[in-house]
Amino acid sequence: MTVTRTAAAGLALLLAAACTAPTPPRSQASTAGSAACTQPQGSPGPETATTIDVVEQAYFCILGNHYGGATLDARSLLVAGFAALTQELNRNGRDLPEAGMPPLTGDRKADWAAFEAAYRKITDRVPDLRDRLAVVTLESMVAALGDDHASWTHGGRRPPDMYDGDGYGLGLEANVTRSQATGDLGTALPPLFVTAVLGGAARAAGLRPGDVVESVTGSAPFIDGKATPAIAALYPRYPEARPVRLRLLRQSTGRRWSVTLKPGLYERDPAALRVVTSKLLDDDVAYVRLTAFAPDSATRVLKAMTRLRTGRTLAGVVLDLRGNTGGSVKEAARLLSAFVHGEVTAYLCTADGRCEPVRTDDTVELLGLPLAVLTDRGCASACEHFSSAVKDLRAGRLVGARTAGVISGPSQGYLLRDNTVLAFPARHHLGPAREAIDRIGVPPDHHTPLTPQDAAAGRDPALAKALTLLHE
């Protein structure tokens, strides 16, 4: 969800800024479902305190609308919420004799009543912790879904000095992405190294792509080849501002040194932030990079390809989806429809196996050119919908690294009573052969791992391989 949340935040920011009203990206999910919660209309009002009534609303909202809601054992949510509550009490030195889990029966309503009664008894004893306890309870209930597209957006603050397009953090990207570092560490491979310097502290300290990170604030990023949670410190989120100390190795010179990087805002070039960028390579390949399946992105990509095709014969197109944070199901299906018609690109299913197919939009004109798609661990959600369909339907070749495996299903927002937004999928995503993509990712046809030496030299083995394939 980290990945998709970033994209959604970017879009929300622009909603406030731009003057035309863009279509919200992930709007195709269910409109049916429980009346416990409704989809937000316009921007929500100012947030109010989260109360047990809000937690109750979220509980029934999840059970009524989440794709697994009908079959989920609701007790798992209540136990997770209660566990977090007791931990928070304990952390505050306020543990209580009556803070034991009430017995649950499996009856969702009766269990909620029992939970709420126990909750109220506890919070009456610690009224000063009331707001905080509601927050941790709700956070844990959402986390208990184990759903990478479930989130509860609350207390969202932006740095007051932020400008549109600014980044926040250390100003670098590494081969282990934010999504991997804060999600599934099992997918990360050593060594940890810088892949891009975006600005801020990393640029000021002179870091370069290819620099190997040997330790993060005193901790090893990998132990016995397995990634450690220390890596997450590379990606602080506002308001986290604790300095991060890195020990670095520049392999080209053998230099070892340490830097202390303070998280902060950094300016980025608006031209580099465009969701669609394109150029002609080798005089006969249209290269288009797409960073998110934003509204109209399929049309924009196809326009760019058509423009590069005008007046010349192309050997093919390279679609660079590395770092693509996902977005709209419809845009993914539409873009695919320029390469294949009459096919199912994905299935959106309930937990009990009722599935709706997502089909190609055969009004989109076929491009009629060979396609190579660049993927990596940053390609998430709608990006994986697209990539899995390219692979399964043989619409082109995938080159690079396995995708993120963060594609539970298209997320839908629900407004809660405290004006916060709860989001999760009403349908689970499966690939064109009804295979699970979530947590697995899409393995590329051609695996082209990036090394620190490649990053330092500015080499792009995936792009080189794609060009070779198109010229065969």
């Binding site: 731009a18 003057c19 549109d164 070039d269 608006p270 932030l273 669609v276 423009r307």
Partner: protein
């Protein structure tokens, strides 16, 4: 004016009918039988008003939106004090522009040429009067043609200002060029991209600097303008562009942002040239858009933050004035169109009189019983 507007070499010059167009307030629902074409309110200043159009080409930089364009082409509409009041009134826009705008905004129920029949007050290509006049650059909202600020432009010209309104090509639904080409909104393709606003105001600041270069030197009527007295105002992202242009180009001595979220970086050390925020209720301190709060702290010179009660995003433009002709009924509780135009004209002119003419009137000193809708922030207008 056609003859005297011949520009120096390198510039494409063409006096043509004033063009461009509007768009209606979104909040309203169609209703009521259409009332026929709109008429813009008469300017209140003493001077007759003329208008003409220049087409300029900046070959020093690529177009930010159209990779196939060889240069940045701009259409600049000028309003200025004229010698005489008689002559043909300039058209508001072409019928084709009217149609494109109405289609883009989804307005049906009235003929597609309705906007082009809007009655203006400025005389087309009238002979200008005076010299060394203060200059005001105007920049419209995103997707909006320059002429959506005509009511304000005509008012300022009647009060002795030269007004240069820029159609930032490809950032409007329709801009017509002399060869008949209509440039549509290419920038609309990417308007949800992160950094979009930042990129737009950067480009608009470059447009402004280029237009100032041309008007103050290359133009053979540059004597009309006092190059030491230049200000800029804009609505929505055009207001954000006013701030961006000021930060980048010291020739712009003062600026007004009408209800635009801002994007330009003000130096951390502060910025001392006069600036005024003029906003709708969305833009109160601590409101949903925090950009004015951010910038307010960095403005170290003369500054005002004014919010119009009942004002909407479009209240600072012609759009509410055109709503009735489009069969659109205003939402309830909203500042009436004529009053919005009146307040916008009064407060913008008061700002310019103070900073370009050295005539500080009382209007900007604080609340006025004649203008109860006007709140002076941040002190008097906390979010309710």
């Amino acid at each position: 004016m056609r003859q005297i507007l011949a520009l120096a070499a390198g510039l494409a010059v063409l006096a043509a009918s004033a063009c461009s167009a509007p768009v209606p307030p979104r909040s309203a629902a169609p209703s009521a039988p259409p009332a026929g074409p709109a008429a813009l309110p008469a300017p209140t200043g003493p001077r007759p008003v003329g208008t003409t159009v220049l087409y300029l080409k900046d070959t020093s930089r690529p177009d930010p939106w159209n990779p196939d364009a060889e240069a940045r082409e701009l259409k600049v509409t000028l309003w200025y004090p004229a010698e005489r009041r008689d002559g043909r009134r300039a058209p508001y826009m072409t019928a084709k522009e009217s149609e494109i705008l109405m289609r883009r905004e989804g307005i049906t129920g009235v003929p597609y040429d309705t906007l082009s029949r809007t009655r203006t007050n400025a005389v087309e290509d009238a002979r200008p009067a005076g010299r060394d006049l203060p200059l005001v650059v105007l920049s419209p909202g995103f997707t909006k043609p320059m002429n959506t600020l005509t009511s304000l432009a005509e008012e300022l010209a009647s009060r002795g200002y030269v007004v240069a309104g820029i159609d930032h090509t490809y950032e409007s639904h329709a801009t017509t060029f002399p060869d008949g080409r209509v440039a549509e909104c290419l920038a609309c393709d990417s308007d949800t991209d992160p950094g979009f606003g930042t990129g737009v105001v950067r480009g608009r600041a470059a447009d402004v600097s280029f237009v100032l270069d041309q008007l103050t030197s290359a133009w053979d009527r540059s004597g009309l303008i006092d190059r030491s007295r230049i200000a800029m105002a804009g609505q929505s992202i055009g207001g954000a562009a006013a701030l961006a242009a000021m930060v980048k180009d010291s020739r712009v001595r003062a600026g007004i942002d009408m209800d635009g979220t801002t994007y330009a970086r003000i130096p951390r050390s502060g910025f001392s040239r006069p600036f005024m925020f003029l906003g709708s209720a969305e833009h109160v301190p601590g409101g949903r858009d925090s950009s004015w709060d951010r910038d307010w702290r960095l403005l170290t010179g003369w500054k005002r933050w004014i919010v119009l009660s009942g004002g909407e995003h479009g209240s600072f433009t012609d759009l509410p004035l055109l709503a009735e002709a489009l069969g659109i009924k205003p939402a309830s509780g909203v500042l009436p169109a004529a009053r919005g135009a009146e307040l916008t004209r009064a407060y913008v002119a008061a700002f310019l009189d103070r900073h370009l003419k050295g005539r500080p009137g009382p209007l900007l000193d604080g609340p006025s019983p004649r203008h109860p809708e006007v709140r002076f922030c941040p002190a008097a207008c906390r979010r309710s």
